[in-house]
């Protein structure tokens, strides 16, 4: 875009259009609405998406901070028992399915590794995309290891494992309303699972773009942002596990 030519007649006294330049010549860069094909305009979009993720992680964190503070308060809270006219503590620790949780943790950490691999794989693919545009050149991308698919499977495995943990607790008679400690057990693991499910869905969308033949850049952004989100979810899970295990 070279110079701006006013299409309005002369200049309006109330705007400085025409005087000194309201919309002066565009010096290169800037956020054009016509993305240059091949140029990494998607680099800006990626940066923006990552910034967006960072921002949205704040309220997710606040949600779990609130749950944690409720947990700590509730655990230590004495309550007035009218039956004895005295103040009692009524927190009974819930028996954690520790082994199952450990397995789930390993599964989740493994999925963190696989999604990181998927992220780097797609970075490479995106970088080489212009090359593969050249007719006759093939990079053999069709036979790359399906890291993304494996991550999705591992994510689903984790969620299944969590559900099994819930079943385990229910079998032992600890339901969501049994006592405060069990309420928090279901709350914390449930909230985490819901958020992780969101991540799984995002990966499924990314995976489906292969079939739908959407541009590689979009897929790369989705996978990249979801990967960072996934790592956050893994760290969050470790925190929740530690809280439930050690702050019983």
């Amino acid at each position: 875009m070279a110079t701006f030519t006013p299409t309005a007649p002369a200049h309006h006294p109330l705007t400085s259009r025409g005087i000194g330049g309201t919309l002066p010549p565009i010096a290169g860069g800037g956020d054009n609405n016509r993305p240059d094909p091949g140029l990494p305009d998607y680099r800006r979009r990626l940066r923006r998406a990552r910034l967006g993720l960072l921002v949205i992680l704040a309220p997710v964190l606040m949600l779990f901070v609130s749950f944690t503070s409720a947990y700590i308060v509730r655990k230590g809270l004495p309550t007035f028992d009218p039956a004895t006219n005295s103040v009692v503590h009524d927190w009974l620790p819930v028996p954690l399915p520790t082994t199952l949780f450990l397995i789930n943790t390993i599964v989740l950490l493994a999925s963190s590794v696989t999604i990181e691999r998927a992220r780097r794989q797609i970075v490479r693919q995106a970088a080489l995309a212009p090359v593969s545009d050249i007719p006759g050149v093939s990079l053999g991308t069709e036979r790359e290891f399906p890291w993304l698919g494996i991550t999705i499977l591992l994510g689903i495995a984790f969620l299944t494992g969590q559900w099994l943990a819930w079943r385990d607790l229910a079998d032992r008679g600890f339901f969501v309303s049994t006592g405060p400690s069990s309420s928090f057990f279901y709350l914390l693991t449930g909230a985490h699972a819901v958020h992780l499910l969101g991540g799984v869905l995002a990966l499924l969308i990314a995976g489906s773009t292969v079939i739908l033949r959407r541009p590689l850049e979009s897929r790369r952004i989705v996978v990249d942002v979801t990967a960072w989100y996934w790592h956050f979810m893994a760290l969050l899970w470790i925190y929740i596990f530690a809280l439930l295990e050690f702050a019983r």
Binding site: T79, F80, P82, A83, T84, N85, V87
Partner: protein, 272 residues
């Protein structure tokens, strides 16, 4: 327009301040030992804030009038407020306001501490204030000075009195407890009120005594005050508790020590 604004702001300032200064609508006559100092602190704060209110609104009004746009008026003055004297002025204004705040706090800070940081004195009249939808029940411990146990399962509001708050007859301490619909207290002696809510949050508010404390289910909250005047004083529930919140009215009846003793003996005799 500027003149109208100025006049309106003057009218607003002076009329609203008038109603405060003339105490047209004011606190109820104080009937407890803290009332005088609390009211005094309110007036102190009122003076400080009243001055701030007056100065700000009138300054606004006068500036609007003086600097209104008129025919042939020169350009506005280009003050960005970032030069050294201007910044200093801002800091000064901030410090002035802070001084007002601190002054007000220094004057009245002890009031809260004096009442809330200490438990009731020994020898206070002990009353358990029971709040439930939508009535107040006042329980007295009787000669043994102890309140007996209550159980939620035993509550029966239709039977009134002791049954309403679910007194457990099996507890020996509850044999001499009695419940009154009116809170009798002797004058000039501290009252140790233990607030208990049975269902939802209520609040024991006695405007004349300058007393207010939420009654929280699950907690037994102590609050204390010393009535200094004889008579009946309204208790108004001061925390939304349901559809009958506005009807949840009680009475604190302040009587002489003799009358209180007579009343208490009569009620204790009933329990024998």
């Amino acid at each position: 327009m500027a003149l109208v604004l100025l006049l309106f702001l003057c009218l607003l300032t002076f009329s609203s301040l008038y109603f405060f200064v003339a105490k047209v609508w004011w606190f109820q006559a104080g009937a407890s030992s803290v009332a005088a100092s609390l009211d005094h602190q309110f007036v102190n704060t009122g003076i400080a804030m009243g001055i701030a209110f007056l100065v700000a609104q009138l300054a606004l009004g006068f500036i609007l009038f003086k600097y209104r746009d008129r025919e042939g008026k020169a350009r506005a003055a280009y003050h960005r407020g970032e030069s050294r004297p201007e910044v200093l002025f801002i800091v000064l204004a901030a410090c002035l306001f802070m001084a007002l705040d601190i002054g007000v706090d220094l004057l009245g800070g002890h009031l809260w501490a004096a009442e809330r940081f200490r438990p009731a004195q020994a020898g206070s009249t002990l009353v358990e204030v029971n709040a439930m939808q939508f009535a107040w029940y006042f329980r007295y411990p009787g000669p043994d000075g102890r309140f007996g146990a209550t159980k939620p399962e035993l509550e029966d509001a239709s039977a009134g009195g002791e049954s309403a708050i679910g007194i457990d007859a099996r507890d020996p301490a509850s044999k001499d407890d009695f419940v009154s619909g009116v809170m009798y207290v002797p004058v000039d002696r501290e009252v140790d009120a233990i607030l208990r809510a049975h269902d939802v949050i209520h609040s024991f508010g006695v405007p004349a005594m300058r007393v207010k404390q939420d009654a929280m289910p699950g907690l037994a909250i102590h609050t204390h005050f010393t009535p200094t005047k004889l008579g009946d004083f309204d208790v108004v529930c001061s925390q939304l508790c349901g559809l009958g919140h506005y009807k949840m009215h009680g009475i604190v009846r302040v009587v002489t020590q003799d009358e209180f003793d007579k009343w208490q003996s009569a009620r204790e005799a009933d329990k024998q």
